[in-house]
C-alpha cells in the first residue's frame, strides 16, 4: 500500500491516460462515461492526497523510471500545482456528473465514446502540465490537452456549424502558441543545456544578460499568452467557448486557461528568476498594461453581447486580466491573489456556464431572450446562476469577493493604489453585464411556448455543489488563501523543500 502512495505523482497522469484507450475499446456510452468518471474521481483523490502531503509547504519529487534528475524526467508536486491539480480534477469530476445528460442532447450517440476519450486525454494533458518538472514535458502535455480540446470544441458542430470554424481557428492559434513555446524551450536548452526546471533555475543565474535567455522568455510569454487568452491574443476564445458543447465550455473555462497561466507563473518564478531586470520590464510594460486594458475593454464588450455564452467568454478574458495583474505585481501578495483568483474564478465560471447550459438545455441557444423569465420556471438553476454572477462581480460573501479583495490588498501593498481603484471600477462593469442576464431571468415574462422543463437531480446536484462552493469559499478561506499563500511564498522565495 505504501508503494502505491509513493507513485501517486505518476498515477495522477497515468490513470486518465491509460483509461482513454480503454474507453475507445469499450465503445458504449454509459460504460465509457463510467470509466471516465472513475478516472476523474481517482485523479481527484490522488490530487487531494498530494495536496494534503504538501500542505506544510514541502514538495515531492518523483523520478520517472528511477532516473534521477536532471537526466531523467522529474515530477514535482508542491502546494502551487497540487492546489491546481485539485481544482482541475475537481472541476472535471463535477462537470462529468452532469455531462451525461447534457451530452445526450448535444452530441450524436455514436460519438459519445470518442468524446469521453478526448475528455480523458484533455484531463491527462492538463494534469501533466501541472505536475511535470521538465520543460519539454510541459510542451508535450500541453499539446495532448490542446489537441483533444480542438476535437472537443468541434463537437459543438451538431448544434452550430460555426463550432468547426472556431475549432479550426483555435487549432491554428493554439499550434502557433505551442510552437512559440517550444522555440522558447529550445533557447533555454541552448543556454543552459538542461531541461529540468530546477536545474535550469540554478544554471540560469548568471545568464541574465544572455540574449538567448531573454529571447526565450519573450517566446514563452507570447506562447503562453496565446494559450491563456491574454488580451489581445484572445481572439480564438470567444468563438471556441461560444460554439463548443456546454460541457466542454464549462470544463475549459474553469481549467485550460488557468493551467496555461500556471505555466507562465512557473516559468517566471521557478525557471527564470523573477527579479531579472528584463522580466520585470516585460511585466511592467507589456503584461500589466494589457491586463488593465483587458479588464476594461473586454468587460465593455461583454456588456454589449446578446449571447450569454459569448458574454461570459469575454468576461473570462477580463478576469484573466485580473490574474495577470496579480502576477505582474511580482510580489508575494500579488501571487497569492492570483492563485486564489485562479481557483475562485474557476469554480465561479464553471457555475455560470453550467447553469447557463442547463437553462438553455432545450432551446440550444443562449441568447438573452432565450433565458427570459426562466427565473420562475427554473428557480433552482436560475438561483445558481445568480450566485455565480454575484461571485463573478465580487459581492461580499462569495468566493469572488475574496479574490478581488486580496488583489486590491496586493496592489495597495505594492504601492500602486490606483490599480486598486481600476480593479474596483472594472468590477462595476461586471455588475452591468451580469445584471442584464439577471434582469432577463427574473424580471421578464417567459416565452409562452416554453413548457415547464424538468431537470433531473443528476444535473441539479453537481450544479449546486458548485454554487455552494462559490459561497463556501467566500467564507472559509483557510484552504484557498492558506494554500495560495504557501504556494506563493514557495514560488517567490523559490523554496523547494524536498522530503
Amino acid at each position: 500500500m505504501e508503494q502505491v502512495y509513493l507513485h501517486f505523482p505518476i498515477l495522477q497522469v497515468l490513470i486518465p491516460l491509460l483509461l482513454a484507450p480503454i474507453c475507445v475499446l469499450v465503445g458504449r456510452s454509459t460504460f465509457s462515461w463510467l470509466i471516465t468518471f472513475f478516472g476523474s474521481v481517482s485523479s481527484l483523490v490522488i490530487a487531494i492526497s498530494l495536496l494534503h502531503s504538501v500542505s506544510d509547504g514541502s514538495s515531492i519529487s518523483y523520478h520517472i523510471g528511477g532516473w534521477p534528475p536532471p537526466i531523467g524526467i522529474e515530477y514535482v508536486v508542491d502546494s502551487a500545482n497540487a492546489f491546481l491539480l485539485v481544482l482541475v480534477s475537481g472541476i472535471s469530476t463535477v462537470v462529468l456528473l452532469y455531462a451525461r445528460d447534457q451530452i445526450k442532447l448535444e452530441i450524436d450517440e455514436e460519438n459519445h465514446t470518442l468524446f469521453y476519450t478526448c475528455y480523458l486525454l484533455c484531463l491527462t494533458g492538463l494534469l501533466g502540465v501541472l505536475i511535470t518538472g521538465d520543460v519539454f514535458n510541459v510542451f508535450v502535455f500541453l499539446e495532448i490537452s490542446s489537441l483533444s480540446t480542438y476535437v472537443l470544441v468541434a463537437q459543438g458542430a451538431k448544434r452550430d456549424k460555426r463550432a468547426l470554424k472556431a475549432a479550426f481557428n483555435y487549432l491554428i492559434m493554439g499550434t502557433v502558441g505551442a510552437t512559440f513555446f517550444v522555440i522558447g524551450v529550445g533557447f533555454i536548452y541552448m543556454a543552459t543545456g538542461t531541461l529540468n526546471m530546477f536545474d535550469i533555475y540554478e544554471r540560469i543565474n548568471d545568464l541574465e544578460s544572455s540574449r538567448t535567455v531573454r529571447a526565450s522568455y519573450a517566446f514563452i510569454v507570447i506562447g503562453m499568452g496565446l494559450k491563456l487568452a491574454m488580451f489581445p491574443m484572445h481572439l480564438w476564445m470567444p468563438g471556441a467557448y461560444t460554439y463548443a458543447p456546454t460541457v466542454v465550455t464549462t470544463f475549459l473555462s474553469a481549467t485550460a486557461t488557468k493551467v496555461s497561466l500556471y505555466v507562465l507563473i512557473r516559468f517566471t518564478f521557478s525557471v527564470f528568476h523573477f527579479d531579472f531586470n528584463f522580466i520585470e520590464q516585460v511585466f511592467k510594460f507589456l503584461v500589466m498594461p494589457l491586463a488593465i486594458i483587458a479588464m476594461f475593454a473586454m468587460s465593455f464588450v461583454a456588456i454589449f453581447q446578446k449571447d450569454i455564452k459569448r458574454m461570459l467568454a469575454y468576461s473570462s478574458i477580463a478576469q484573466i486580466g485580473y490574474m495577470l495583474l496579480g502576477v505582474s505585481l511580482l510580489s508575494s501578495e500579488g501571487l497569492t491573489a492570483t492563485f486564489v483568483n485562479l481557483f475562485n474564478h474557476g469554480i465561479t465560471k464553471a457555475t455560470l456556464f453550467m447553469s447557463l447550459g442547463v437553462l438553455t438545455l432545450y432551446s440550444g441557444k443562449s441568447f438573452l431572450s432565450d433565458v427570459q423569465g426562466l427565473g420562475k420556471k427554473m428557480p433552482w438553476i436560475s438561483a445558481s446562476f445568480l450566485i455565480g454572477g454575484l461571485s463573478l462581480v465580487g459581492i461580499p460573501g462569495t468566493a469572488g469577493f475574496i479574490s478581488k479583495w486580496l488583489l486590491v490588498q496586493a496592489t495597495i501593498e505594492a504601492g500602486v493604489p490606483i490599480l486598486a481603484l481600476l480593479i474596483i471600477l472594472s468590477s462595476l462593469l461586471a455588475i452591468v453585464y451580469i445584471w442584464k442576464v439577471i434582469e432577463h431571468l427574473y424580471f421578464m415574462e417567459p416565452h409562452s411556448e416554453l413548457a415547464s422543463q424538468k431537470v433531473s437531480f443528476r444535473i441539479l446536484i453537481p450544479l449546486w455543489i458548485l454554487s455552494i462552493s462559490c459561497l463556501y469559499w467566500g467564507f472559509d478561506t483557510s484552504l484557498t488563501v492558506g494554500t495560495s499563500d504557501i504556494a506563493a511564498n514557495n514560488l517567490f522565495n523559490n523554496v523547494i523543500k524536498l522530503n
Binding site: 507570447i222 456588456i303 486590491v408
Partner: protein
C-alpha cells in the same frame, strides 16, 4: 454566546431566504414581513451593552454585535421603521421588493451593530445592492436607468470605504470602526464614503434622483435607512469634526430653494430629507453630548415623520398615479385621513410644539448656541423656516388643498392608513412625552424642550412664516407649480460629461460616417458611444479571421522581444 445576542441582521436574512425559497403565498409573505421587524425590535430592545458576536475572517476579528447606547437607538428606530414600512406595503405582491426590503433593512441594522470597518463594509454594500431593487421594482426603463445611476454611486461609496479601510489597515493594522481624526488618507477616504451616503452637498444628487423613481412603498423604505445609516456612521467616527458643522449648514440651506420650486412632491421630500440631514450633520460636527443626543433623537424622529410624509404622498401617488404638485390639489375631499396624517407629518417636520420635530431639533439648535456658533445658529433657524415652507406648507397644501384638481380618488387602502396612523401617533406621542425618547439616547439628557420662551419663539417663527406665506400667496408671488424639472448637480454626469465624451469621440474620428450621423441624434446617449467602441460590430468584438489574429501575435511578440532585448 447568548442566543438573544445573535446579529439582528441574520433574522432578516433568514427571513429573506425563507421568502425566496418557500413562501409562495402572498399573505404569508406579508405576515412574515411584519413579524420579522417586531421580533428584531424585541431582540434589540433586550440587547445588553457590550460586544457579543465575534467572527474570524482572514485573520481579522470581526465584531458583528457591538451594542452600545448609540447603536441601540439606531437599531430600535430601524426596526420600527421596517415594521411601519412593511405594514404600509402589506398589499405589495412583488416578491422581489419584499426580499429586497428584508435584505436592505437587515443590512442597515447589521451595519449599525457592526463593530469594525470590514463588516461595516459588507453591510454597507448590502444596503446599496438590496435597495436598488426597490427602484428597479418599478420596472420601467426610466427607473432602470435611475437605478443604475443610484447603484453606481452607492457602490462607489462602498468602494471608497473599502479603499479607506484598506489604507487604514495597511498603516495601523486596525480595522476598528471607532472615532477617528480627519487627518490621514484613510480617514479622509472613509469620510468621503460616509459623505456620499449622507448626501453631502454636491454628492447629494443620487438622493433626489432615485427616491422619486422607486415604487410607492419602496420610497418609504428607502427614506428610512440609507442616509440615517450614514448619519450613524458619521456620529460614530467623526463626532466633533468641525468641518461637518459647515457642511451640515450648507446642507440645510441649499435644498430649501430647490424644494420650493420642485414639482414632483416625492422629490420635494427628498430635498427636504437632505435638509434635515443637514441638521443632524451639524449636530455631529458640534460633537458635544447634547449635540450627539440631538442628532440621534432627530434621526429617530425624522425617520418617523419623513416616512409619514412619504407614506401620505405615496398613498396619493398610489391612488392617482401622479405625485406632481401641478396635477394635484383638493384631495382632502376624498382622502381626508391621508390629509390628516400628512398634516401631522408636516407639523412634526416643521417642529410645531407638541410634535416630535420640536423636541428633537431644539436639542441640536441649543447645542450650536451653547457652543457659540451664532452664524450656524442663524442658518439653522433660517433653515427651520425653510422646512416649513416646503415640507410644512407645500406638501400638504398643494396635494390636499389649494385649487381643486378635480381628482376624486378613493381613500388610501386600509393597511396604508393603519401604518400612517401608527406613525402619526408616534410623532405626536414623542412630541408630547419627549422623555420616552430622551431616556434611550446615548447620553444623559438634562434638557427641557417645553419652556415658555422656547415655545413662544418657535411659535412666533412659524406663525409669522405662515403669515408671510399667506401674504405672498395673496400677492401672487409664490412660484407657481408648473410641469418642469430643475437642474441640479446631476446635470454634470447626465448631460455634460456625455456631451464631452461625444465630442472627444468625434474628434478622434474613430466612428465611421454612418454611425456618426446616427450618433448625433442620440447626443445624450453615452451608451451609444460605448456601443460604437465595444459593441458587437465594433473592432473590439469583431470575429476576425485567423490571419489577423496571427498578425496581432506578431505585433505583440515584437513588442515583447524589444522589451526583453533592450
Amino acid at each position: 454566546m447568548d442566543f438573544i445576542q445573535v446579529p439582528s441582521s441574520y433574522i432578516f436574512y433568514l427571513a429573506a431566504a425563507i421568502t425566496f425559497v418557500f413562501l409562495r403565498d402572498r399573505t404569508l409573505r406579508s405576515v412574515l414581513l411584519i413579524c420579522v421587524p417586531i421580533i428584531a425590535l424585541i431582540q434589540v430592545w433586550n440587547l445588553e451593552i457590550g460586544n457579543h458576536h465575534q467572527v474570524d475572517f482572514f485573520n481579522l476579528q470581526l465584531e458583528l454585535m457591538r451594542v452600545d447606547k448609540l447603536s441601540k437607538v439606531f437599531g430600535l428606530i430601524f426596526c420600527l421603521a421596517a415594521f411601519l414600512g412593511n405594514l404600509y406595503a402589506w398589499h405589495v405582491k412583488d416578491v422581489v421588493q419584499q426580499i429586497a426590503t428584508l435584505v436592505y433593512t437587515g443590512s442597515a441594522i447589521g451595519a449599525v451593530f457592526a463593530g469594525d470597518l470590514v463588516s461595516l463594509f459588507f453591510y454597507w454594500e448590502g444596503t446599496a445592492i438590496a435597495s436598488v431593487f426597490l427602484i428597479w421594482a418599478r420596472r420601467t426603463e426610466a427607473s432602470y436607468h435611475t437605478g443604475m445611476r443610484y447603484l453606481l454611486i452607492q457602490i462607489s461609496s462602498g468602494v471608497i470605504l473599502l479603499a479607506g479601510l484598506a489604507v487604514q489597515f495597511h498603516t495601523t493594522g486596525s480595522i476598528a470602526f471607532e472615532k477617528m481624526e480627519l487627518s490621514s488618507l484613510s480617514s479622509f477616504l472613509i469620510f468621503i464614503s460616509f459623505g456620499i451616503k449622507c448626501a453631502f452637498p454636491l454628492l447629494h444628487n443620487w438622493l433626489q434622483d432615485s427616491y422619486p423613481a422607486a415604487t410607492v412603498t419602496g420610497t418609504v423604505i428607502l427614506s428610512s435607512f440609507t442616509t440615517k445609516l450614514a448619519i450613524y456612521a458619521l456620529a460614530r467616527s467623526f463626532a466633533g469634526t468641525e468641518i461637518l458643522i459647515y457642511i451640515g449648514a450648507i446642507m440645510t440651506l441649499f435644498p430649501i430653494f430647490f424644494a420650493e420650486i420642485e414639482n414632483d412632491l416625492r422629490r420635494v421630500l427628498a430635498y427636504s430629507l437632505n435638509n434635515q440631514l443637514g441638521f443632524m450633520v451639524v449636530g455631529i460636527g458640534v460633537g458635544t453630548e447634547l449635540a450627539l443626543n440631538g442628532t440621534a433623537s432627530h434621526a429617530f424622529a425624522h425617520i418617523l415623520y419623513k416616512s409619514l410624509l412619504f407614506m401620505s404622498v405615496g398613498a396619493v401617488l398610489f391612488r392617482t398615479g401622479t405625485s406632481k404638485a401641478s396635477e394635484l390639489g383638493g384631495l382632502y375631499k376624498t382622502m381626508p385621513l391621508s390629509a390628516l396624517c400628512c398634516l401631522i407629518g408636516a407639523a412634526s417636520i416643521s417642529a410645531f410644539p407638541l410634535f416630535s420635530g420640536f423636541v428633537t431639533k431644539s436639542l441640536i439648535m441649543d447645542a450650536t448656541a451653547t457652543e457659540h456658533y451664532p452664524v450656524i445658529w442663524c442658518v439653522l433657524v433660517f433653515a427651520s423656516a425653510g422646512v416649513l415652507s416646503h415640507s410644512g406648507i407645500k406638501i400638504p397644501y398643494f396635494t390636499f388643498f389649494a385649487h381643486d384638481s378635480g381628482l376624486r380618488p378613493k381613500e388610501a387602502p386600509i393597511n396604508m392608513l393603519i401604518a400612517m396612523f401608527i406613525t402619526s401617533f408616534l410623532c405626536v406621542f414623542l412630541g408630547v412625552f419627549p422623555d420616552t425618547l430622551y431616556n434611550i439616547l446615548p447620553y444623559e439628557v438634562n434638557y427641557k424642550p417645553y419652556t415658555i420662551s422656547h415655545v413662544i419663539s418657535q411659535l412666533q417663527l412659524l406663525c409669522f412664516a405662515l403669515l408671510a406665506f399667506t401674504v405672498i400667496m395673496k400677492l401672487g408671488f409664490h412660484p407657481p407649480e408648473i410641469r418642469a424639472i430643475n437642474l441640479d448637480s446631476d446635470w454634470v454626469y447626465r448631460k455634460y460629461l456625455p456631451s464631452i465624451m461625444l465630442r472627444i469621440i468625434n474628434r478622434l474620428g474613430s466612428v465611421n460616417e454612418s454611425t456618426r450621423s446616427g450618433l448625433e441624434n442620440k447626443i445624450s446617449s453615452g451608451e451609444q458611444i460605448l456601443l460604437n467602441i465595444f459593441g458587437p460590430t465594433a473592432n473590439f468584438a469583431r470575429v476576425f479571421t485567423n490571419g489577423v489574429m496571427i498578425l496581432w501575435i506578431a505585433v505583440i511578440f515584437t513588442g515583447a522581444l524589444a522589451i526583453v532585448l533592450f
